[in-house]
């Protein structure tokens, strides 16, 4: 018998969504990196995280390298753009947390505006711990930066009406629909947002993320199932590109947090943190994420090379 290479053709296709001026996500009609089956769409995008407050808990080399810029988000963003040129920048409004300054939505909007003016890269805005407050923050930020294709992380079941109406409808930005590691929940939230009037080309999804080792099998399986539903069953309510805030999860698990004094045999702490970030990011990209948010420049560099080798 002669070898016949198998092919899997799907009828569905992931939507194209544009972040900022022209960072296109999605567009694939095959499983992630299956270039042997067909069109893999746009290259997965890599974003870098910055904060609106001093990143006390971050790895020493990053904090040292940033120096005073770590206190000025706009300068920080500009530095990241020039030095590392990621595909986008994610401004995370940690300062709006109750225990980190409790910034008002107006203050958040000011910071976001400064950052947006300092850089050319597309922006992603991530909120604080409180979904309720995020509704207010996102409304103000979107109002200050209308029609810029900025993605807002995230609209959840509890605040989607407010976030969807402000971000998606009134100010023409992009809504990220976040659900909890379940295909049906992801689908339901997408449908609710569309019923509200948000256009699917102004939507991304985050179906729930975790770090490798921490319930990550559920994350991978949810991604697998969502992608198969979108491609194989042509489920148009699940064809939005997926963005995952990998660094938000990986830098808080023990493998990244434990100091060398805590666990001497584990060796260099920063290297462990980078490794968990890289492995988690690859893990979700391979299962279906179209964009990931990273913290460490080394992770960015490795992920970029990895994607270039695979695409």
């Amino acid at each position: 018998m002669a070898y016949k290479k198998p092919v899997q053709k799907f009828t569905g296709k992931i939507r194209e969504v544009t972040l900022g001026e022209n960072l296109k996500l999605g567009g694939e009609s095959v499983l992630p990196f299956y270039s042997f089956d067909g069109d893999t769409g746009h290259k997965p995008a890599l974003g870098m995280e910055i904060w609106d407050v001093y990143p006390e808990s971050w790895p020493a080399t990053i904090v040292n390298e940033l120096g005073d810029k770590a206190r000025k988000p706009a300068e920080w963003a500009k530095y990241v753009e020039e030095k590392y040129s990621p595909d986008f920048i994610c401004l995370r409004l940690v300062g709006a947390n109750q225990d980190a300054g409790d910034k008002s939505p107006e203050e958040c909007a000011l910071v976001a505006k400064e950052v947006a003016e300092a850089v050319n890269l597309p922006l992603v805005i991530a909120g604080c711990d409180s979904n309720e407050k995020n509704g207010k923050i996102f409304t103000k930020v979107a109002e200050a930066l209308p029609e810029k294709n900025i993605a807002f992380l995230s609209a959840v079941e509890g605040n989607y009406k407010e976030v969807g109406a402000a971000v998606g409808l009134a100010y023409g930005n992009i809504v990220v629909a976040e659900s909890s590691v379940d295909l049906n929940l992801a689908k339901q939230l997408n449908i609710l947002l569309m019923q509200l009037g948000v256009k699917p080309e102004k939507m991304l999804m985050n179906p729930g993320c975790s770090a490798v080792g921490y319930g990550f099998e559920y994350v991978v399986t949810t991604l697998d199932r969502i992608r198969l539903a979108a491609l194989d069953q042509n489920d148009t309510t699940l064809q939005m590109p997926i963005i995952m805030p990998v660094s938000f999860e990986t830098w808080k698990v023990k493998e990244s947090v434990a100091t060398e004094d805590d666990v001497p045999e584990w060796g260099n702490q920063e290297e462990r943190g980078i490794a968990v970030e890289i492995s988690t990011a690859v893990g979700v990209l391979v299962a279906g994420a179209n964009a990931v948010i990273l913290r460490h420049p080394r992770s960015l560099q490795v992920l970029r090379e990895f994607i270039n080798c695979l695409i």
Binding site: M1, P6, Q8, F36, V220, D224, E255, G267
Partner: protein, 453 residues
């Protein structure tokens, strides 16, 4: 092609003697068709029927073995492309590469690092299972001396002999055959001699060819030589092509139902990049999709922690949630005044938290209520972890009788439960612990100090 229950029934002796454990031959045939029993359960089947059945009901991908004694591992045997379809069964094994062209120092350094990475995560012992031993010198004695060193140095690792020279391979097998080594690589030129050697010792044979098509032809040739204990690999020098190969070997077996490529695969990640973090990225890819042996240049905790954890996750059976039994658990020599902590019955959470409590060296109690087998926030969000479920556990496990303490430490992530628990448990005080278990040792030490003073 798969046989139906009726097709199989026609092959059976039709005695209805029940010796197979089923009431009739037909019932047995139906079970066979589902792959739920083995054909061998019927003692009266003709050899011809047996052969036809085993061919038709054999799984699309063969399960092969390597190693010896308590270091014996299965590879392959996968039946699905996605874990939610059923489950992945035989986890990939990691290998570290040694070459006989390496300096003594380099060899000893690797041996030391292999031995250092050895720990337990959620009841599973983690270490590198394979020492990949490559003959680059072309010299038999040099190679044998490497094998000896690594064999003596890494007691846990099963050797994988890497050479294309059958003479050197034969001597190498002699040197370590008691540990059930993998023999790598049979190729177009040497396959007769390599198959004979593998056959003689019942070894798992690594097969290598330049591309998918040549591999396919080579496997046919080897199968015709009567050997089926195989591990496949291609010599594609790029990540992109190697990924293509590994995915399509798996799909040929499972989708095209062509068992010629129905064997597990091996990837030399170490040949695709020299950078450690790139090797990690690639190994992550191949743990998810779909390699069975992954060869790295080296190992340390920064690589092992994410890779072994990922592998453990991906190879968890989705139909069998990992739960621990509810109850009151004693950690260390806790007495009736020791701290009491509550967590959930999700195995992952329980083992992480109990590990940290042990590390703190503060003898403690852990109360595990019925939390549906979920993580802390999942259990809370689904209403399974509540004042009620915790109070119920306090009653069910007679905590008030066994302990004098009336304080209970709860996970920081569910601080909001404090008032609810105190309502349900009159006379008790709830103390909110840290968000992450990693902070528990410090927290417990401070907490115990405070209680004493």
């Amino acid at each position: 092609m798969a046989l139906t229950g009726m097709d199989i029934y026609k092959l059976l002796p039709k005695k209805n003697c029940k010796e197979c454990g089923f009431p009739t031959c037909l019932a047995f045939a139906m079970k066979l068709a589902q792959g739920a029993v083995e054909a061998g359960k019927c003692p009266y089947m003709s050899d011809d029927a047996k052969a036809r059945l085993s061919e038709a009901t054999a799984p699309p991908m063969r399960t092969v073995k390597f190693g010896a004694g308590d270091k014996c591992y299965n590879l392959g045997g996968e039946t699905v492309l996605f874990r939610h379809e059923k489950t992945f069964v035989n986890r990939p094994r990691f290998a570290v590469l040694f070459s006989d062209a390496m300096s003594e120092e380099e060899i000893q350094g690797k041996i030391a690092r292999m031995n250092k990475v050895n720990y337990v995560r959620i009841n599973e012992e983690m270490y590198v299972e394979i020492a990949a031993l490559k003959c680059e010198s072309g010299n038999k004695d040099t190679f044998l001396s490497l094998i000896k060193k690594v064999k003596d140095g890494c007691k846990k690792a099963v050797p994988m002999i890497i050479t294309s020279d059958p003479e050197i391979a034969r001597a190498a097998v002699e040197e370590c055959k008691e540990s059930g080594p993998i023999l790598f690589g049979a190729d177009e030129q040497n396959c007769e001699a390599m198959v004979e050697l593998a056959k003689q010792h019942g070894l798992l044979l690594g097969v290598t060819a330049p591309d998918q098509e040549k591999l396919y032809n080579l496997v046919q040739k080897i199968q015709n030589l009567g050997y089926r204990e195989l591990l496949l690999s291609t010599e594609s020098g790029t990540l992109k092509q190697t990924f293509d190969d590994v995915v399509n070997i798996r799909r040929t077996a499972l989708l095209s139902q062509d068992r010629t490529l129905g064997y597990p695969t091996l990837v030399f990640v170490n040949l695709l990049s020299k950078d450690k973090m790139m090797q990690l990225a690639m190994a992550t890819l191949f743990v998810e999709k779909y390699a069975s042996v992954i060869v790295l240049d080296d190992i340390d905790y920064s690589l092992a922690l994410p890779l072994f954890a990922l592998r453990q996750n991906i190879y968890t059976d989705p139909q069998r949630p990992m739960k621990v039994e509810q109850g009151l658990y004693k950690i260390g020599s806790a007495d009736e005044n020791s701290p009491l902590l509550v967590t959930v019955d999700f195995a992952l959470t329980y083992f992480i938290v109990s590990g940290e409590v042990e590390r703190s060296k503060i003898p403690s109690w852990m109360l595990i209520p019925d939390a549906g087998g979920y993580s802390v926030l999942t259990a809370w969000a689904s209403g399974k972890l509540s004042g009620k479920s915790i109070a119920k556990a306090v009653k069910d496990f007679a905590v008030e009788e066994k302990l004098k303490t009336r304080e209970i430490v709860i996970p920081g992530k569910v601080a909001v439960l404090k008032a609810d628990i105190e309502d349900e448990l009159p006379g008790w005080k709830v103390v909110v612990g840290p968000d992450e278990a990693a902070l528990l040792p410090k927290f417990l030490r401070d907490y115990a100090d405070k209680k004493v003073s």
